[in-house]
Point group: C2
Chain length 438, copies 2
C-alpha cells in the first residue's frame, strides 16, 4: 500500500494539534460536501469519485514514513495521535453517477472533529476532479446521441489524473479509453491503433502504403487506419487498396471534420467500402460533437476537452462543518454562507419519471409534508462507511454508469441543453434551521 | 517502486506490435516535444516537470503485473519485448524553469522507433500538466510584485496532480504550499494554520474567541488567525484581544478583499497591531492579485486558479516524430504541420541581458551566421539522459526556481504584461529542411 495520508493540507493537522491541546478533538461533528453553484451555464453535475475515495480512505494511515515527514511540522502529541489514526465514523453520500445541483449534500462525514476534519483534502481532491470530468463527459455523451466516444486525453493531463479521468469518462457513458492503467485498475475497456508517427516512420521505405500494409498485416482489417498524415484522399485510397473494402475504420484527426467526413464517406462508398466506419478526433468538445450530428461520423475520439472538464476543470465542491455536538453551524461573514445542520435530500418525480425538484431537509426531522405527499420520492444519500469500514455491496462502476444514464433520461427536456442555462431542477431547503450565534 | 509503464496509451503498444512484426521497431528516430502555440494571449510558457519525468522514466518497467494486464491487448512477441524494455536512448531538453515559446523544442528523445514512441504519453502528461501550472504561477508571482504567495489549491484538483502542482508552483516562485506530500517528496516549504471549521467547532462553547485562544495557546502568536467566519470587525478585535498586538497575521478569505484589507489594516493599526500582517485568499488569480497591488496586503493565498492553470489547464504540447533514419519527416495534411528534422535552439540577448529572439536550426548544422555573429547566444537544450540513464548533476528544483526568476527578468518589458498579447519574443526557424515526400 502507498499511504494517502499526506495528500492533506497542513492546516488540517494544525487544527488537530490545537484541538488535542484544547480538548475539543472529539467533538461530534458533521461535515458536508456540496457545490455552491454549478460551473457557468451548466444544468447539472454528475457525482463521481466516490469509489476511488473509499479505496484511498482505506490507505489513509500514518506509517513511520509519514510520521517522520511530519516531525517539525506538528508536535509530538499530534504525531502520537496520527500514528493511531483510523477513521471510525460514518460517511453517507449520493451514489456515484447520481446527478447533483447547487447545494446538494453529495457527501456527509460524521465523526469526531479531528478524525473528520483531516479528510477534507482527500475527499475534495477526488470528488472535485472526478465529478468535473464526469460532468463534462456526460454532456459529450448527450451530444453524441448514441454514437460511441473513445476517451484519449491522457496526454493532456497529469499522468495519474489521466487514469481517474478515464474512469470518470467511462462512468459518464464513454465507450472506451486509450489509458492502459485505467484498463488495469478499473476494467475500463481500452482501445488504440496508431498515431501519425506510425505512418511517418515509414518515410523513405514505402511511406503511407507500407505503413498501412504493416498495420493490417499485424492487426488485421478490424483495425483503424489514420488517413490524414499526408493527403486525405490519397490516404483513403491507400487504406482501401491495402486493406480491402472490409476495413473496419479510418480516422481523421485534423481539418474541417464535418466536410472531411462527408468527402471521405463518399469516397469510401465509391470504393465499395460502405461499411468502413469513420472515426473523427482533434480538439472535439461537446459543441463540436453536436455540430457533427448530421455528418456521416461513426465514432468520436475526445481528448483535451474531456480531461480538462471542457472549461470547468474542477467541480468547486467544498467540505464544510455544518454541525457540532448537535448544534447547526455556518459561516456568515460573506456571500458564502452555507446552511447549518446536517441535511438529508430527496428528489421528487412525476409519474412519467421526470424529476421535479430536489428537497433538502434537516436530518432527524420528517420529510416535509408537501414532499411526503408526492408519489415519487427518492432518497439520494446512501450509506458508504459505517464504523470506519466501507459498507458491503456498494454500487460498482458499471452500476454507476447505468445509474447516470437513467438519471439523465429523468431530467426535464431542457436539462440536456448544451447552451448556457439554469440548473435543470431547483433545490429547495425545507425547514432550514437557524444557525447558532457564537 | 510503482511501475509507471501503464501510464501509456494503447496505440503506442499497438504500433510497437506492428513495428516488431514489420521489422521497423529499431529504426533510429527523433521525437520532439513542442507547443504549437501558447495558451490564448499568453506571452511565455515555463518548462516544468522534467525532474518528475526523469524519476518516472526510471520506474517505466513492465513487471509481471503489467504484462499480465496486457495479455489479450497485445500479442506474445510484444509482451516479450516489453518484458525486457528499458529506454536506452538519449534525451535532451530545455532545463526546468526555462521559458519557452511556440515551436520551442523543449524535449528531444532519440532512440529506436519502439523504445521512443512508447514514452509519448508519460512525457506529455507530465510536461503538459506541470508546465501549465508553472506558466500560470509565474504570472501570479509577477503580479504579486514581491509579496509572498502561498499555494493552497490541493482541494481543487486530482489528489496526485495536487502534489505536482505544488512543486511546479514552487518552481515558479511561490513561497510555500499547503500540501504535505509535496513537502515530503520535493522539499517544498509547507504552511497552514486553520480553516473556518476551526472557529465553527467552538460553537456553543465560547465561539470565535475560544477558538482563537485555543489556537494561540497551541501555536503561539506566530500563527495566522482567520477572522472572517462571522463578522470581520469583531473577528479582528477578538484576534488582537486574545493574541495581543504582536499577532503575526490575520487572514481574510471572502468578500471584497481590497476594501476589507484597507479596513482591517486601519483597525489593526488603531489596535496597535501595526506589524500584524494581512493574508488574503479566496478565488485569487493573477488579475485579482494585480488589482490588490495598491492595497495593504502582505501575503496572498491562491488555490483553484493555480491548480487549474488559470484558464489554461494544459500546455498543449505534442510529441512528434521529426526524423527517421536521418530523414526529416512531418505531417502535412492540415494546418497542423510541424517542421521536420531534429532541431537545436538558441536564444539571443542584448548586452543588457534582454532576450531578442529564439532561433531554431537543424541539428548537425552550424548556428546560422547572423546568430553566430551575435555576442550573447545561449544554447537552450541540455543533456538529460544518455544511454537510458539520467545524466549526473542536473539542475535541482531550487536551481530551476532561480533559473526561471532570471529568465523572467530577461524578457522585454512587455513580456510580463498580464493582458492578452503576443509571445514576448519571436521564434525563427533558420535553415528549415524540406520534409521528405513519402
Amino acid at each position: 500500500m502507498t499511504s494517502t495520508a499526506l495528500l492533506t493540507d497542513q492546516y488540517e493537522l494544525t487544527m488537530i494539534s490545537a484541538a488535542l491541546a484544547a480538548g475539543t478533538a472529539g467533538r461530534r461533528c458533521v461535515f458536508e460536501v456540496f457545490a455552491r453553484r454549478l460551473p457557468d451555464g451548466r444544468r447539472y453535475g454528475v457525482v463521481a469519485g466516490t469509489g476511488r475515495l473509499l479505496d484511498e480512505l482505506a490507505d489513509f494511515r500514518f506509517t513511520d514514513d509519514e510520521l517522520r515527514a511530519l516531525t517539525g511540522i506538528v508536535d509530538e502529541a499530534t504525531l502520537d495521535w496520527l500514528a493511531g489514526y483510523r477513521f471510525s465514523g460514518e460517511i453517507d453520500g449520493y451514489a456515484e453517477g447520481e446527478l447533483y445541483f447547487p447545494g446538494s449534500p453529495v457527501l456527509t462525514v460524521r465523526g469526531g472533529f479531528a478524525e473528520a476534519v483531516i479528510l477534507e483534502t482527500l475527499v475534495l481532491s477526488i470528488l472535485n476532479h472526478d465529478s468535473a470530468i464526469a460532468s463534462a463527459a456526460a454532456r459529450m455523451v448527450s451530444a453524441a446521441a448514441g454514437r460511441p466516444i473513445i476517451e484519449m486525453g491522457s496526454r493532456r493531463t497529469h499522468e495519474r489524473a489521466a487514469v481517474a479521468a478515464a474512469r470518470a469518462a467511462y462512468l459518464a457513458g464513454l465507450t472506451a479509453t486509450s489509458n492502459l492503467e485505467a484498463a488495469r485498475t478499473y476494467g475500463v475497456p481500452s482501445a488504440g491503433t496508431a498515431a501519425h508517427a506510425w505512418t511517418l516512420s515509414f518515410a523513405g521505405s514505402g511511406g503511407e502504403r507500407a505503413a498501412f500494409a504493416a498495420q493490417i498485416a499485424r492487426l488485421g482489417i478490424g483495425t483503424t487506419l489514420l488517413v490524414d498524415t499526408y493527403d486525405i484522399t490519397t490516404g483513403v485510397r491507400n487504406a482501401i487498396e491495402v486493406a480491402g473494402p472490409e476495413l473496419n475504420a479510418v480516422r481523421i484527426d485534423s481539418g474541417d471534420l464535418g466536410m472531411l467526413a462527408r468527402q471521405v464517406r463518399q469516397q469510401l462508398d465509391d470504393l465499395g467500402a460502405t461499411r468502413t466506419k469513420i472515426v473523427v478526433s482533434g480538439d472535439l468538445d461537446e459543441y463540436a460533437i453536436a455540430s457533427l450530428r448530421a455528418e456521416p461520423v461513426d465514432i468520436y475520439g475526445v481528448g483535451t476537452s474531456l480531461v480538462t472538464g471542457s472549461g470547468a476543470p474542477t467541480a468547486g465542491m467544498v467540505y464544510k462543518l455544518v454541525e457540532v455536538d448537535g448544534i447547526p453551524v455556518s459561516k456568515r461573514a460573506s456571500h458564502k454562507e452555507s446552511r447549518g445542520g446536517a441535511k438529508r435530500a430527496v428528489r421528487t418525480a412525476r409519474d412519467t419519471g421526470t424529476v421535479v425538484e430536489e428537497i433538502l431537509y434537516r436530518d432527524g426531522t420528517a420529510l416535509p409534508p408537501d414532499a411526503a405527499g408526492t408519489l415519487n420520492v427518492r432518497e439520494l444519500q446512501i450509506p458508504l462507511v459505517r464504523g470506519g469500514d466501507r459498507v458491503d455491496g456498494l454500487p460498482t462502476l458499471t452500476d454507476a454508469r447505468t445509474h447516470l444514464a437513467r438519471g439523465l433520461v429523468s431530467l426535464p427536456w431542457e436539462g440536456l441543453g448544451l447552451s448556457h442555462g439554469e440548473p435543470a431542477i431547483g433545490t429547495r431547503f425545507a425547514d432550514t434551521p437557524t444557525p447558532e450565534t457564537p
